[in-house]
Assembly symmetry: C2
Homo-oligomer: 310 residues x 2
């Protein structure tokens, strides 16, 4: 089955302690699609300006990403300039130029409207709601958000929560949204407002997936060098949703596997600038890292009762 993603398509300029990149492919829909395209077919909806280097997006199209929903609008493309310092967990925004993104009105092409899996990447909650009005009974809808919308579009974001099955957000955003410092309580607060599942991402510290009755945790893959953290969260979402769409299985066991695919794709994304590393992956490399994840957390619980001290 296929997955529909609606989000930003940007040009990123990034400085990290290890180098810099100018006007490379970025945006939530771009990272999501690059990651998910290894697992299933992707329908992408977004907007770019007339100045966008469309030929660079060809790399995604050649991976089977359907770009029929990527509009070209009059004006300049969404650009983000950011810097990471020694602490790679924190992006410092140097410049944001919204360009055509500020007037983005997602139009879901007819052939995308019956997508069984829908990911509403981090855009204005009003637009996320407008997407839901255009799609027909998807099997699973997930949304992401960010601090800006939590602050400026709180009522709309809360309305959206009533219409999604799953929310992904990072720990700082979860605390901001719920005003709960404890993330177990924060997750419950969110589930009380709609989603049956919440994934709280903690960057290099891994991710929790909560349901009413269960908690699953997956670490971030311990890399010796993180090159550029941009897009890790959207790549996580791409791996997660891609696995669900590929398998069509919404059991708890399979959602756990989906989190592992999410962590896997996130761990690849940060090894290079932009979607470079995601584009060059092959199945064997992905499968090998999934197995490494299994090794990373594997232990036999000693099910026998603890004995007497010897």
């Amino acid at each position: 089955m296929s997955v529909l993603v609606v989000g930003s398509v940007a040009l990123d300029s990034i400085e990290t302690p290890f180098g810099r990149a100018e006007e490379v492919l970025g945006g939530s829909a771009t990272y999501f699609s690059a990651a998910a395209s290894h697992l299933t077919t992707v329908s992408m909806v977004g907007v770019v300006g007339e100045d966008y280097p469309m030929q660079k997006l060809e790399a995604l199209a050649s991976r089977g990403v359907d770009m029929a929903g990527v509009q070209t609008a009059r004006g300049s493309s969404f650009r983000w300039r950011g810097r990471y310092q020694h602490d790679l967990n924190t992006a410092h925004t140097l410049e944001t130029h919204l360009g055509v993104f500020s007037h983005f009105k997602p139009q879901i092409p007819g052939q995308f409207r019956r997508s069984p899996f829908v990911f509403l990447a981090n855009i204005d909650p009003r637009l996320q709601l407008s997407v839901l009005a255009q799609v027909e009974r998807p099997r699973l809808v997930a949304c992401d958000t960010m601090n800006f919308w939590i602050e400026s579009r709180r009522p709309e974001l809360l309305e959206l929560l009533g219409h999604v099955d799953l929310m992904t957000l990072n720990d700082a955003e979860a605390r901001q949204l719920t005003e709960e410092s404890n993330i177990v309580k924060a997750a419950r607060w969110i589930m009380d407002r709609g989603p049956a599942r919440v994934i709280i991402k903690k960057g290099e510290h891994g991710a929790f997936m909560f349901t009413r009755d269960t908690i699953f945790f997956a670490p971030a893959f311990p890399l010796e060098s993180v090159f550029d953290p941009t897009g890790a969260g959207d790549s996580f979402a791409g791996g997660f949703m891609g696995h669900l769409a590929r398998t069509g299985d919404l059991s708890d066991d399979n959602l756990r596997r989906a989190v592992i695919y999410g962590s896997t794709m996130g761990s690849f994304a940060v090894e290079r600038f932009s979607i470079e590393r995601l584009l060059e992956l092959d199945q064997a490399t992905i499968d090998a890292r999934v197995r490494e994840f299994q090794q990373l957390v594997a232990f036999d619980a000693p099910m026998a009762a603890v004995g007497e001290p010897t």
Copy 2:
């Protein structure tokens, strides 16, 4: 088999957002012993002043902790006063009174010298070395340390590394010791100087155990309320070493289980002030949490090759 711990025995006064405690049992050897005593017999070495409320330590003795190595010296006991604010990860020291601890010279009683498992809790590396000179061929020696010793006793700490099998320390300490910001590289730096294994503790973000060839990760148990983080690391060490001593099994599989016991005991320690929660535990409660840990990270790796997009 039994485990020998050498460390501090203190009186803690603590403020958290949830309450305060005055002059309660604290210190690395105290937390370690309370945790390990659920798994094996513990031999404790430390020093207290004449003003120490020895009757309170009775709770440990009645759990089978052998206190023959706890000296009473002339002077006042080691006292620590600290505060945790909203961010429970960071202790703010308000006052440290070393008292008799400043002249501590660990004397290992004859009956403790053949302990097969030895934990050198966070004390002056010169004293940690002096303990090793008094014990006879233990099967496994582990040490902890802290920022103060990394700064003030670096040569002695590096010498110690050549004589231990395993080091535990937190992520900030690992970065300080090794001057590596990446913890995978930091762990390798430490292993290059002696220990075959390094455990890097990340507080609420879990713990990594490194060997030359393997990495194991265990999350911290996601608690809805962390009451007082004091002693979590020493309780982790107590659970870890306690499991190893109980089983006598130094295989990689069993060391992974030991990390889970460490995380389990750490997660209990933070539920109350001092060692209160550790003292009231029973085996069924411990076993139940170990099983919850298994549920927390369990997933079936899909070993089949990733199929074609459908």
